[in-house]
Amino acid sequence: MHSARSDISDCTVLTQADVEAMRHGCAVLGSGGGGDVSAAQTLLMQTLSTTNVEVSSAKKLGPNAWVALVGAVGSPTVMLEHLPGNHEFVTAVRTWEQHTGVTLSAVCALEIGGVNGLLAVNAAASLRLPIMDADGMGRAFPRLDMAAIEGSVPAIPVVLADSVGATVVVDGVSGSGVSDIVRRVLPAFGSWAAICLYGGTVQQMGRLVPGSISRALQLGRAMLSEGTLPSDREAFTGTVVDLIRSTDGHGILTLHGHDDPAQTVRIDFQEEFLLVATDGRVIGQVPDIICLVDLRTRQTVLTEDLHLGQRLSLVVLGAPLTGDGLPLPIGLDDYGLTPLGATARE
């Protein structure tokens, strides 16, 4: 089971040879969202052509080492046209250090799922800093306030930076105020920006989801060797026979089984896959990691790339736990869906 376990072996160094596996692993942990990882893959390949990245566990860094979360916020679609470079992430981190007066010992991924997982590794390489084997979400989530670290460490100061060096420091607000300001600033940054936030000592950052980099690597290597992953829940392959996309961004996918054509799987999704049920029985729900692999291309599928007739393999992985052993504090209600209750999953 690919969840937060302390026995995932420590990865110590990431090299160019690991990029392909990281890419697949981050895509899986994107749970159908997190943006197209190809935007960051090329950049990381280029960056790691001249250097490696040290991967450090919390234990190795020590309790008093300072860490901040890095990533990108905004439109992943725009990112495919306005490609990321190294400058904006370096600027964001250095501006954060300048604003706080703190020198970071390492950076950590804001979000391991999707493009942000690769961008965090790239930022670490560009900064010549280790990357902490952890992340702020354990998978991909659409909003900053969904980070597992939220509430235990203040997000501020939040630094946004773009490729030409423009920076914005957000300070003096908390909670949803941060997301609100960031959202309003993004259009001026061309719809996406590098971000540095949630800084604290390793001890303070205890709620980070541990082992995220190692997990991504492990999943990615399995994808490369097998073309798919063993699912924590029942296996299913099927064909898309119905796809509904509502104007409010919610979608419903219907698949008919290959092994049992009478079997029906329904997947609700928005930015990510949220709920999987077969014949009225829940197989997985957010924060579980729900992944669809295209049987033809052997690639994970984003929600925006779904179409009728696709032949897909369903992978459901149990949600990782936070560093303090708690489940991720995100559920269906965070996406506007009625929660199922404890008796729902069989």
Binding site: I252, R266, L332, T338
Partner: protein, 536 residues
């Protein structure tokens, strides 16, 4: 041959369980859609359970429950709960799941899951607030007789307050939510004429549950028999359940008395009108005038003696007699085509009627009216293909005296037209020409007897009579006769020789030929006169 579905479902008239079909006909479920196999309508419902999305999977559901998912617009997205609830409800033996309709429609996964787990879905319009719907459904499920009693009470009130049978049946139809009409084996008497079934298939099942499939539609029937007339009160609602059928029968039984009274009154009025018509025509025929009393009675029937009249007479030359209902139907058709018929009278030698005009009709008007009559009469022939019919048309005449004259002319024209019948013959008095000379002879009893005497030996031989008649009517040409009758010329000659011998006449004599021809024509005219009726 009753409706097997309804009769199998009826356990006992009074204690028939409520089924989904009985729920679906309720007004509060107008526009609701059942998603499931047709037999789902027969599922028993004995309880109503309301669930909200947040508690849907933990709600207690009893077998045969109708599960109603209550949502309001302020709640979070709930469509993902439906399939989970389908599984939960199906596992508890629920009868069906009711969910509100949404603009998005149902995903295929939901309908597939419902089908796979065997649970019917009902999508209902959110026009009625959820709890109000739940209360209404609960009342119907647990005390269906209350609502049914209310319906019957409304109909009882309608019997008192409505003025006509039409209004009463319309009210019954409203209360039952279906179609209601009074019909006999030939037509709809009261109600929507477009019934949509074959009258000839109206076979009554004699069990107490008088329910009948007609062209795959279920009708509830109650007899409304009077002396000499069999009519039926009928109610129909598509896909209705057995309880509706019972309710419909009770409702129709309530109004049966009104229907029988209406039928009796209609028959009495029809007979009275026929008597008055006959009396008026008798007076017109013999005296040329009509008494004041009959004028008054005729005026009550809508007749008008002022203005101009054009007389028609329809006679049957061969085939069965025309029924009264056919004649009434013909009058309706003529009226639809702009020809208003007055004074329709059955006489011994056919049916006489006339058309009224306020101003003298032009020849074009007469031709138009004649063409409309011919078209309407052609439909009579289409009812029975072997009929031979003749239409006599009089000349336009004014006032009561003129009415008598035009009617006489029409009858005379019909008599002459009867001698040359093939299908439908139309003869107008103005184009009778020299035939008019013969009118007196055709009507003479003396001439008729002489004709029978002359033709006597061959009257019982259809081949001989037809051969002789065809020969004389076609210029005494053997070749033409053979061609018309599809015989060999030698056969025709043999027959003519035989006729000469039998009648002891010579066909070489012009006088003989003329006499025989006149006798044969008189014989035809006599056939029109005596077709199923006493000769006057």
């Amino acid at each position: 041959m009753g409706s097997p579905r309804w009769e199998q479902l009826l356990v006992n008239d009074s204690f028939s369980p409520v089924r989904l079909a009985d729920i679906l006909v309720l007004p509060l479920l107008d526009g609701a859609q059942l998603i499931g196999p047709p037999e789902a309508r027969d599922r028993i419902v004995n309880d109503v359970v309301c669930v909200s999305p947040s508690l849907a999977l933990t709600s207690a559901i009893r077998p045969h429950s109708l599960v109603l998912l209550l949502v309001d617009d302020t709640q979070m997205r709930w469509s993902h709960m439906v399939e989970l609830l389908i599984r939960h409800a199906a596992s508890q033996g629920a009868a069906a799941l009711m969910i509100p309709s949404t603009e998005e429609g149902l995903p295929k996964s939901t309908t597939r899951v419902a089908e796979r787990l065997g649970l019917p879905l009902i999508r209902f319009q959110k026009t009625v607030p959820g709890f109000a719907a739940a209360l209404g459904l609960n009342a119907v499920v647990h005390a269906p007789e209350r609502r049914e009693t209310r319906v019957l009470l409304e109909i009882t009130d309608a019997i008192i307050r409505t003025d006509s049978l039409e209004d009463l049946l319309a009210e019954v139809a409203t209360q039952l939510g279906g179609r209601v009409l009074l019909a006999d084996s030939t037509r709809v008497r009261v109600g929507d004429a477009e019934v949509g079934f074959d009258y000839n298939k109206l076979i009554v099942h004699t069990r107490t549950g008088i329910v009948q499939d007609l062209d795959e539609q279920d009708w509830a029937l109650v007899p409304a028999f009077t002396a000499g007339e069999h009519a039926w009160l009928m109610a129909q609602r598509p896909l209705a359940g057995a309880r509706w059928a019972l309710l419909a029968q009770r409702a129709l039984s309530l109004v049966r008395g009104e229907a029988v009274a209406w039928l009796t009154n209609a028959r009495a009025q029809s007979e009275r009108a026929a008597r008055v018509r006959s009396l008026v025509l008798e007076e017109l025929s013999f005296s040329g005038t009509v008494s004041t009393e009959l004028v008054s009675a005729a005026t009550d029937l809508g007749w008008f003696f002022g203005g101009w009249h054009l007389g028609f007479h329809v006679g049957v030359v061969s085939g069965p007699a025309i029924e009264l209902w056919e004649l009434e139907g013909m009058a309706e058709r003529l009226s639809r085509n702009g020809v208003d018929v007055f004074g329709q009278v059955a006489r011994g030698d056919g049916w006489t009627f006339w058309v009224d005009y306020l101003t003298p009709p032009t020849p074009a008007t007469v031709r138009t009216s004649t063409a409309a009559v011919r078209e309407a009469v052609a439909e009579l022939r289409s009812n029975v293909a072997v009929r031979g019919l003749v239409i006599g048309v009089g000349s336009p005449q004014a006032n009561a005296d003129g009415l008598a004259q035009t009617l006489r002319e029409a009858r005379d024209a019909a008599k002459l037209g009867a001698t040359e019948v093939d299908g439908i013959a139309v003869r107008a008095v103005h184009d009778l020409g020299s035939s008019e000379l013969l009118l007196g002879w055709y009507g003479s009893r003396l001439f008729g007897d002489a004709a029978v005497q002359l033709l006597g030996p061959i009257l019982g031989n259809p081949d001989a009579k037809t051969t002789l008649e065809t020969y004389l009517e076609n210029g005494c040409s053997v070749a033409s006769t053979a061609r018309i009758l599809s015989l060999h010329r030698n056969t025709v000659r043999q027959r003519l020789d035989s006729i000469e011998q039998t009648l002891d006449v010579s066909l070489n004599s012009p006088d003989t030929r003329l006499a025989l021809q006149l006798a044969l024509r008189a014989n035809h005219s006599d056939a029109v006169t005596t077709q199923g009726h006493e000769r006057p």
